[in-house]
Amino acid sequence: MEVVEGSYAVAHAVKCCRPHVISAYPITPQTHIVENLAQFVADGELECEFVPVDSEHSAMSVALGASAVGARAYSASTSQGLALMWEVLYNVSGMRLPVVMTAVNRALSAPLSIWNDQQDTVGARDSGWIQIYVEDIQEAHDALIQAYRIAESREVMLPAMICMDGFILTHTYEPVVLAEQEETDDFLPPYDPEYYLTVERPLSFGCFAEPDKFMEFRYMQHEAMERARFKIKEVADEFERAFGRYYGDLIQGYNLDGAQIVLVTFGSIIGTMKEIVKHEKDVGILKIRSYRPFPVKEVREALKDARVVAVVEKDFSAGFEGALFSDVKAALYNHVSDLKLLGFVLGLGGRDIPPEDISKIIERSRVVMDQGLKEEWEFIGLRGEIL
């Protein structure tokens, strides 16, 4: 174990995965990841093509081209950058190219904010990318290595983003076990695609689909996502065998046994939650590790014995409610109906989440447990005085 910055840990993991092509465009708070990678290259520690592009749109397009020619491609971005490469995100997944990226979580403009929330990647939940949300730096590091195994497996062939809270994880120093090159090599075989651009077999990539076929291509993507559910589990298990670390498969429960109140969430907030929850014996945490594919069955199973479920998230769909809140309710409807679901939106645009906010959420949940539901969801931590 070493104390390193989150961004360094991620860069290190990327290096161990031996990407052929790295293409990313700087944007706070993703920058340190890319800068570390650039330094590895400048110091001869990492041999790869580091392509300094003109925009995120180009970054993802370069990754796309590289992946299509059979190279392992990496990118990293966040927020505005993710939004700018939007079209390419859908394109990469539709072309079934297993690009892996670290999606640092940051708020979306306007107003501009360089600080953390999860509106950016949550807004990308339809894009056909696998989304793994990580809880701490070690997981950000480990999940990256897992991601290539999952994405590149022939049953899956889908891109994956590891979602990591900006600043809170990227800019924090804490003890991390950095992977060894050999153990990574043992775990992660070279990328060996069935189809790639080569004069040896001059295939045409990215043909268009008329109405008699498009729907079936989408269905194949759907099936791949279904298979990814199993792959994510399998890779998590194998990773544990190889590296001795485990973060759950699609979900991970904490204190769920006998919990009457369950906090459902993802990302770094879980750290603070754990500190609170360890003092509360009837409160558990359900971490959504894989947001896409969404762990429908796992969520049903994990929550079936709870009485109140509080979904806590750093995003919301304007004109409705938090996206995770909707998704959890959607997963439970038709199946588990005797619990109350509460939504909490907090931490937007870098609003710090002190432990008291978590306590407040638990308190509210208790009130609902006793007195029934009034407001279904609310913002936590609003400063009423400036409104």
Binding site: G94, M95, R96, L97, M157, Y195, R201, P202, L203, S204, F205, G206, C207, F208, A209, K213, E216, F217, M220, A224
Partner: protein, 86 residues
């Protein structure tokens, strides 16, 4: 046909698409006028003008769309267009 992921197609498969059916005019050649400049081959958008030592210039009517470029560009004025009969 089963779909292949990513809409990846095997090379040159559009050859199944007989665009000759699009034609409303049809090129014909008067071999005696041909000076073998090969403009017709050079400029046919559908690669439908062929040549062999034996037959000289001829047309692949499976694909010729009848655009008339070969006739227009023919140095020897050997190619002419006629209405397609069907």
């Amino acid at each position: 046909m089963k779909l292949r992921i990513g809409a990846i197609a095997d090379p040159g498969t559009s050859i199944v698409n007989r665009t000759g059916g699009w034609r409303s005019e049809k090129p014909l050649i008067d071999h005696s006028l041909c000076i073998r400049c090969f403009n017709c081959i050079l400029y046919c958008p559908d690669s439908a003008v062929k040549y062999s030592e034996k037959e000289g210039i001829y047309f692949d009517y499976d694909f010729c769309k009848g655009c008339g470029i070969c006739a227009n560009e023919c140095s020897g004025r050997a190619i002419y267009m006629v209405m397609e009969e069907k």
